[in-house]
């Protein structure tokens, strides 16, 4: 791990901690400079990252998607209105899908964007219309929210350090654009982009073979989980609350 990586990581951790502390200080006099500082710090880290590591279009795309994902998830967390949060979650999921495409998982990226954009968010938004949103400030937590945010920032830094120390030695300097597909060697560089369609189909077929072969039992368990969710949802929807406890 070189010096640049350490600087970038500490900048990200500091930015996260600053963001977290800012979250519920709604006073604009405090929030605006701190938010600008945190955003500027992460932008500087992103510029350093792009300058040192992004020699290719893949790298530039990755850091753009990463910045978009972090910024939009920050907006999800701080959204005053749940609908705004849901729409920013859509942006964050689109950025995650883009990163997954760059990591040669186009099938998973498609599934994520489709499921979250088409299914989950529509369900979510239709649920938001059925509740009356509060407009008074929420009460405090059981411990200070500054303690919580400081712990979260510290934990993120520790986790990052653990990730770096636990990575296999070959992964440290190597690029992820190397090919890994089981169904055949793929190379997602710009030079061989025309061959990636066929190998993507191979990778998808391999995922299907893995799902119905080696991972058949977990696959069945997930199917059972989904059936349970459906039955539970139907049961909850049909449940009639007693008249004296019902709201209005």
């Amino acid at each position: 791990m070189d010096v640049w990586n350490a600087a970038i990581l500490s900048a990200i951790a500091l930015a996260l901690t600053a963001w977290a502390v800012v979250l519920h200080r709604r006073d604009p006099k405090f929030t605006l400079p701190a938010s600008l500082g945190a955003i500027g710090m992460s932008a500087a880290a992103a510029v350093v990252l792009v300058g040192t590591h992004a020699q290719t279009a893949t790298g530039v795309l990755f850091y753009g998607f990463a910045l978009g994902a972090i910024a939009s998830s920050y907006l999800v967390v701080t959204a005053r209105h749940p609908v705004h949060g849901a729409l920013w979650l859509l942006v964050a999921m689109a950025c995650l899908g883009g990163i997954m495409i760059l990591l040669e998982a186009p099938y998973l990226a498609t599934a994520y964007v489709l499921v979250f954009a088409a299914a989950a968010l529509v369900f979510y938004l239709s649920s938001v219309t059925m509740v009356e949103l509060p407009d008074k400030p929420a009460p405090d937590l059981w411990i200070s929210r500054y303690t919580v945010t400081a712990l979260a920032g510290l934990a993120s830094f520790v986790l990052v350090c653990v990730f770096i120390s636990e990575l296999p030695a070959t992964a440290e300097g190597e690029s992820l654009s190397r090919s890994m597909a089981i169904g055949g060697a793929t190379q997602l560089d710009a030079a061989s982009a025309e061959t990636s369609a066929g190998s993507t189909a191979d990778a998808t077929a391999s995922i299907g073979h893995l799902l119905l072969g080696e991972y058949f039992l977990p696959f069945l368990a997930v199917a059972l989980l989904l059936v349970t969710a459906i039955v539970g949802g139907v049961y909850l929807a049909h449940y009639e609350a007693p008249a004296d406890t019902r709201y209005r």
Binding site: A69, A105, Y112, A120, P139, P168, R246, Y247
Partner: protein, 101 residues
């Protein structure tokens, strides 16, 4: 050229940002969104490590994570609507006394 470390750093940053949101926010709708983001960042870790170690097993586990996220938001929203009908607000601290029901 994407170093694996940077993908993992991004995933952990997303995870702890949304974990912070889950701990801080007192609106169950936003807390559900934060859980979705946490699951998404975990799926990103699986995809990145599938690339590092070769093979597609990480992507298969990512699909399982997706299914769990969908089941979670479905059941979570159904429970939320039911609790809202009882208590009339979205603050989870008002739902602490489940034994009263």
């Amino acid at each position: 050229m994407i170093p694996a470390t940077h993908v993992l750093v991004l995933a952990s940053a997303l995870f702890f940002l949304s974990l912070t949101g889950l701990l801080i926010r007192r609106n169950v709708l936003v807390m559900l969104l934060c859980i979705e983001l946490m699951l998404g960042s975990v799926a990103l870790v699986f995809v990145a490590l599938a690339e590092v170690h070769g093979g597609l097993r990480g992507q298969v586990v990512g699909l399982f994570v997706l299914a769990i996220a969908v089941a979670q938001i479905g059941i979570g929203l159904a429970m939320l609507m039911l609790l809202y009908r009882r208590r009339g607000e979205l603050n989870p601290t008002s739902w602490e006394r489940l034994k009263d029901w």
